[in-house]
Symmetry: D2
Subunit: 434 residues, 4 copies
């Protein structure tokens, strides 16, 4: 095509960094990205994208781990106070903070989906001058939320890519679909967008992460393995209280049900087809020493290196939790609080992105392989695309880090932003061919 | 009435001892009392009683802990070889070895039920000359079975009472109902007769035991407390085997289900209304070290000082066992292997028997109270009689013992037999008044 | 002696009610009774008693369930602000809020100990006009603390008794020892005074409670049974955290240790010598769903109808908790947070008190028996007195209640105060004979 | 060297088959290989080897899963009756049925160790004419033992190799060490020889198996992966019995200790470094329904894909078993009943053997890789050799099978014997170079 995506990206560097810092200063945690999503929607609109948001892109039933209504309300008000466009905030109500921008290119062709996640972490950001965001004045002003995973960068990259692709759409074929996802932390948000069908028409799908296991600026990893499928689950046990001295037989013991569940969950048989995990990370039960405990909650997660292995763990868990409740004659309700699928990058897509990257000449190292070893709900999109015959891949773009992901001192080398913008734009353009 | 029951009993002393020794020599354990029951039936017939046996007095569905058909068959053949009347053995088939004799007195009046148990223990009797039955030639010839609880004496007493009451029936009013019960050991037999309705017409009911907590000949205890209601239960878990190394996820672990059941059964909440007990006495599971275990059995018992307390333990147990199976995705079948009710002697009946005993002048000590502290399925009859408005009591008649009950060297002072015959005959006659 | 204790008590009625209402308005929970104890100490001093407090009457090592230093400090300051004498508050520092008054009578004689408890409950008192203390302006001003068990009345009674006995001491023989105990709620305070030896010289000991199972004014119960010995225990498990997905083997799981402890604690074998209880009332463990949980706490209590039965439960518990920690390779620390002994009233003392009560002619009903069915740490004093040859009893003095003990609407008929003052004074005088 | 090992092997074919059939007819299970070992010793002696046996090659402390003395005695007598040389049987007493033959070659050089296992399985061999060994008259005459894993073939191969190598020793350099090991089944025997130091001087070590995952005659696999390290363990719990109704507190419950152990063993955390396994395959506890169970045994195995992973599982298991005993106040003894290490073939040795095999021209297929997926205690030798700087490999030599290993109808294509003899002789000779 002869488009110089590196030059286009560099032209936007200042704007991209400014956006990243703005998002960094006003971080919003999962399902409360009202301000972030409103800015995204405004920006995409201004660039000529058709914008969808709220109910249009989120299946309410499939949302997981949503904060209480009052908390959503509180965050929506904060967003307005911090300058969010009220029209969008209204559209995003109920925490449906996803946004999608669609742009039709000059000629018919494939649909290319690009996914960017927007949410911050529940972390109190470091507040001392050795932490650059604090020193330079863009540290979080929303205490308790902080962009400690780089999603501020992802969103800024997404908006720059949107601008570049819009500027060259006459030379491209097909449809550009930019997916701005809420609630990746806790792997809670992708399912609600995926179930809604937003990637059902996507032929090529790309997701990305800055940093992570590409900890040097200039690295690129496209051959990623080891996405862990996972389910995050709460089980709430409800029994009957009783005076522990006077009438123990009159109670129904939720604490013992939860304890029995925890022990037996950890005894789920290992699976011969690959690694699995189970963790009951929290158990809270009872109200007083002399009261037979009538309530309990366990918070757990299952994992597997494939969706099938995680499904095995999840199915076993469900049965065990139910049986533990039965054992003590208590009621139990389970709630899925998050989840991610297993995933495999499509090799042909990987090779195409690598070739584009080589062509750009800005990456010092294209890694021959990279192990993810964690969970990402981008996999729900990937799985859906692949199940319908499309190609999907998830890539990591190197960025030097000030501290590890989720650390209160997390920060990344902003030079990586421009590299990401160039690569993603160029790769998308490469795919947008008739 | 002026009948001298002591003299009548003494006249039968030799015959009663001979009968006891005959039963002692040919002991038959639970549900295999073919020879004993046949002799009882023949004797009652000869005395003019109307005799009912087998299906007429036993509810097959309510029989608990019955040996396998082949074993019943083997014992029936042994009984024939040891002189049992084939007609009765035929009638008793399937282990339905209960016998009832009914005699109508001269005038109308109440129905008086007397219960005698007939079965031996699964004990190998001592075989040395310091053990009187061996020395005097009436030790068990049926190795593995032995009368180590005195039921041989109970049956002999019952036949002597039958003879005496028949001889004085013209002076009595009402109906005599003599109940010869199988399978008291393991508390397995009474329920099947009780459910059949054999005591539904009984106005006064008496059961007895020689020895036990009245360990001196000449003692008598009528004010007995502490009958423990109990249920004996087997739970058989069936899972799916798998190679423990190659495919652990393919199995369904019956061993862990049984282990979880055992632990949680012992955690059943204590009851504020009185003492309860639970014991998983046996657990057998698995076939090999490297095979995921697909089968398991637990043998347990629950107890309570009342039927309601035992019912609480039993109900909890049932739910826990089912839930333990569900927890590991295995099947479970539970079988009731025995049981007894709680019981309370009717005080007015107790006082009447004590008065009769005083009148006879043969007891050195009438105990003011006596704690049973064990289970007796005679309680099923007592409960049924009382539920229908009748009066019931269980008494203990003192007998010096050579060794404790169920000991391989158990033997008792046969002088107690005559005292028992006199008392039971006299008490029955006292009740058989218009 | 010819002293009219009823008249003496009635003369103090107004003052006693006023004191009770003052204590009610300024309630102080366990180990923070700085103001209450200071008033008690001032009053006893003024009456001529020799007063001991703080370190003199409390063994610091034996204090259980003491609040953190900062909280003690906060409450001490509040007491000063609410008028407590700074000299006493200083002496009571560290929560050693016990006070003892000693008065020597005219002639030598026995030592009579009377015990009154002073602490309030951790309850938010009802604040509406249907609740008399609120309506009449003496409801708690220390939000979160409330006299919902009548200890305000106990303390007021104690001070009136102190005044009456001081006024008649010339007619009495022996020594009066008035024990004002902190921290009865949670059964935390008596042990620290008992271990200090404060009742080691006591020949006759009386403790009392208003209301409880004597719910009508005018009732009296001296023949009390069913004191439950108890131990309140916390077990704090400390393991090692680990990422549940990345390195589960690197952690040491405190949650599973606590769960295993809870289940197996409830499986402690029932005891044939009498009722026992175990309750793990609370379990809190873990910090996040995806972190192998490194910390856990269980809060439990054991009980038994005798000290020996509770000791059995406690000893078993200690071993099980330690083993559960070992099972998961975690550390555990156990802390005794409260406790009470079993107890039996001395019958001769009971009869003497009943005779005094009959003589006073103010009680409508002297109950033939009364089941306590709960725990009271007054039993520590009773046990200690009895072990050293003295006589001890605990009595209940009827009071009509507005709501049950520990209820936010608890209040009692203040007419009971005068009856209690009269009885306790008269009973003490009866015992103070040479 | 110019030696035609194929021709040498073929010359011995008839003798080798005859020997295999003799061993097959007189199978001896683990630690009872008295006749087999005696024949091996006699044969090696006759060939000029220096022979070591019994105490000289077995460390008694390190023997695992040895039958009781009486059973060893019984099998030793059977061996004598079946023609074993009494001098050797005497030397092998106590089940120390290992034999080693050493031969020094003409010139100095490396020590080459070759290992052959001799024991049969605890299997009842099929007895019908469709089973060739039965049809042709060499089926097991020692009912309950059968060569269902091909060790009869291994031993026969070993003796042929011994004969060939002895015949060409003048052309070789170094020392030939032939190790005939007992008790490979249950992975019980290698450790006792390895610990004794028998391979401490070995520079090159080869072990082999016929059939297994090379199920076609003419296949060869040298690049074997997936040896599972394992430990076989029994835990015997000893408590105190008690009457479950009368005095449950007097007992110490071994059944619950075993149940708690089983559950918590299965909850050992998964390991991030690779697959692990745990299986409690058997649990037997208790003697009667109404007796608090005083004894229990669990039979378990741990596995890991490396020795370190198995060691992790084993260490965790030991602690859990001990804690489970402590939890119920019972004693526990653990016994290692078998074990195997993880292993990796040395690639340079593998390549050398493959080259020799290619040179022989008798193998149709040399497999590029082969997954073992089971446990073999040959690994103990390999680990020891490698730890001391030597090279070790384990190879599989194809043989068509009539039924799977350990099946009652197991038999193999005896044509494989000659191929094995040729390859092992040639490979050893290749290594025996100065």
């Amino acid at each position: 095509m002869g488009i110089n995506f590196v030059a286009l990206a560099e032209k936007l560097t200042e704007k991209t960094i400014a956006r990243r810092r703005d998002f960094h200063k006003y971080p919003e945690s999962a399902w409360t990205e009202f301000r972030t999503a409103a800015i995204v929607a405004d920006t995409l609109s201004a660039l000529g994208y058709q914008v969808f948001a709220g109910d249009e892109v989120i299946d309410a039933q499939a949302m997981m781990g949503v904060p209480a209504a009052a908390e959503l309300e509180r965050h929506a008000k904060r967003a307005l106070a911090q300058g969010a466009n009220p029209q969008w905030v209204d559209k995003l109500q109920g925490g449906k903070t996803g946004v999608i921008g669609v742009l039709t290119c000059a000629k018919p062709g494939p649909t290319v989906g690009l996914r960017f996640d927007m949410d911050a972490n529940d972390v109190v950001e470091a507040e001392d001058v050795s932490h650059r965001p604090f020193k330079e004045g863009f540290a979080s002003v929303n205490r308790g939320a902080a962009h400690a995973c780089g999603h501020d960068g992802h969103t800024a990259v997404g908006l720059a890519v949107a601008e570049i692709l819009a500027s060259v759409k006459e030379q491209l074929s097909g449809t550009i679909k930019l997916i701005f996802q809420p609630a990746e932390e806790g792997v809670r948000g992708a399912r609600a967008m995926s179930v809604k069908g937003v990637v059902d028409d996507v032929d090529y799908f790309l997701g990305l992460h800055l940093g992570f296991n590409t900890k040097q600026t200039g690295q690129l990893a496209c051959r990623i393995e080891g996405f862990l499928a996972t389910t995050k689950l709460d089980a709430i046990f409800t029994g009957v209280p009783a005076h522990a001295g006077a009438a123990p037989e009159a109670g129904r013991n939720a604490l013992l049900a939860a304890a029995a569940a925890a022990l037996n969950l950890h005894a789920i048989a290992r699976h011969s087809q690959g690694p699995t995990r189970i963790n009951v990370g929290q158990l809270e039960a009872g109200t007083g020493r002399n009261v037979l405990p009538a309530n309990a909650i366990i918070k757990l997660e299952t994992r597997g290196t494939t969706s099938a292995l995680n499904e095995y763990m999840f199915t076993e868990s469900q049965r065990i939790i139910k049986a533990a409740a039965d054992m003590y004659g208590v009621q139990v309700e389970t709630r899925e609080m998050g989840g991610a699928a297993g995933a495999e990058n499509d090799l042909c897509l990987v090779e195409r992105v690598e070739k584009v990257a080589e062509g750009l000449g800005i990456f010092k190292e294209i890694m021959p392989s990279c192990y993810f070893g964690a969970s990402e709900d981008c996999t729900y999109f990937m799985e859906r695309v692949q199940q319908r015959g499309g190609k999907a891949a998830y890539i990591m773009i190197g960025a030097a880090l000030a501290a590890g992901h989720h650390d209160s001192r997390f920060d990344f080398d902003e030079a990586a932003l421009t590299e990401a913008v160039a690569l993603v734009s160029a790769a998308a353009a490469d795919l947008l061919q008739a």
